[in-house]
Symmetry: C2
Subunit: 165 residues, 2 copies
DNA sequence: GAGCAACTATAGCCGCAACAATATTCCCCG
DNA sequence: CGGGGAATATTGTTGCGGCTATAGTTGCTC
């Protein structure tokens, strides 16, 4: 029953993910970041103006809106982010990456890429990697986490509301 | 910078994993189980005597020993598990799956396998799946989460101490 | 323009899990 | 046999994050 190939398949996916996540977390910690904080920084840094409304930030990450409120609280306290009132909609506020935040991200990214290379992509022959990524993409497209989706997509640019002026 | 293929690769792995996890969690919930509880049940059910010492249970799962203490508390309260004193070592105690626990697992497993088939293995051509699993195995073996490892392994049987008698 | 539903961010409350501290038991070594 | 260090499980403490409630804002409808 438990040696069903499907169980094995899920086990491999889960363990590979868990192992990589642990490596990532360790490297993030060297730079004083948690995984969520790194995620926030990357999401914001790839957005126009290095900013995103709280709601959109939540939609693009693994956190709820209240979760975003709190992680932004912490990162603002640490000087990595800054809240900015949205001029066109007084309900909204932007989270903006500060210079310190960008700098921190710049310090962190090279090591992150190196770790991916070392423990993931570099472990596989090019053909294997290609097929593996195709397969993951098919699965991803099928399950479509919805809110979590979009990370590998081009760039939503203006997800719901225009930044206005 | 952010469209680096390595970033994309990790994104796919993370999103595929997140999407599948969400599907699993929803199905577990139909049977009144959380993902950790399901994990505990499967680990115990595949162990000799349907039991494992608290420490070994922690070593084989994603939880710390105190985490195991508490989830076993809850599951014992719900009648899925039972604590049993270890006769050969009075420091240790076993977590044993009850009949109700086994029954719950039997109710949950078919649907779980069906979901894996539906959203993961069944999404891929046999060749693709084979290569993908090989790749995941290579990555898994490389990162070797250590404690988390072993889920797809045969069976540790007696990880640290002999059950004795 | 007034009313109302939807949207946005936040705060209260709760459960979960990791870390550290603690109590008990075991085993090695003399 | 006795002492000390390791092992085992539990509990206290802490932080995180989801859900719900809430307050403020917007835009639609009449």
């Amino acid at each position: 029953m438990f040696d069903d190939p499907r169980i094995t398949a899920v086990g491999l996916l889960v363990e590979a993910h868990a192992g990589l996540s642990a490596r990532f977390a360790a490297q993030f910690e060297e730079h004083g970041l948690s995984p969520v904080e790194f995620e926030m920084l990357t999401r914001l840094a790839r957005s126009p103006g290095n900013q995103l409304r709280m709601t959109d930030l939540a939609a693009q990450t693994s956190l709820s809106t209240s979760g975003v409120t709190r992680v932004v609280d912490r990162m603002e306290r640490d000087g990595l982010l800054r809240r900015r009132a949205c001029p066109s909609d007084r309900r909204s506020s932007y989270a903006v990456v500060t210079a310190a935040g960008l700098e921190r991200l710049d310090q962190t990214l090279p090591g992150h890429l190196r770790i991916i290379e070392q423990w993931f992509t570099g472990q596989l022959a090019p053909d294997t990697l290609r097929v593996l990524l195709d397969g993951l993409r098919q699965v991803r497209d099928a399950v479509h986490p919805g809110a979590t989706a979009g990370s590998t997509e081009p760039n939503p640019a203006e997800p719901t509301a225009p930044p206005g002026g």
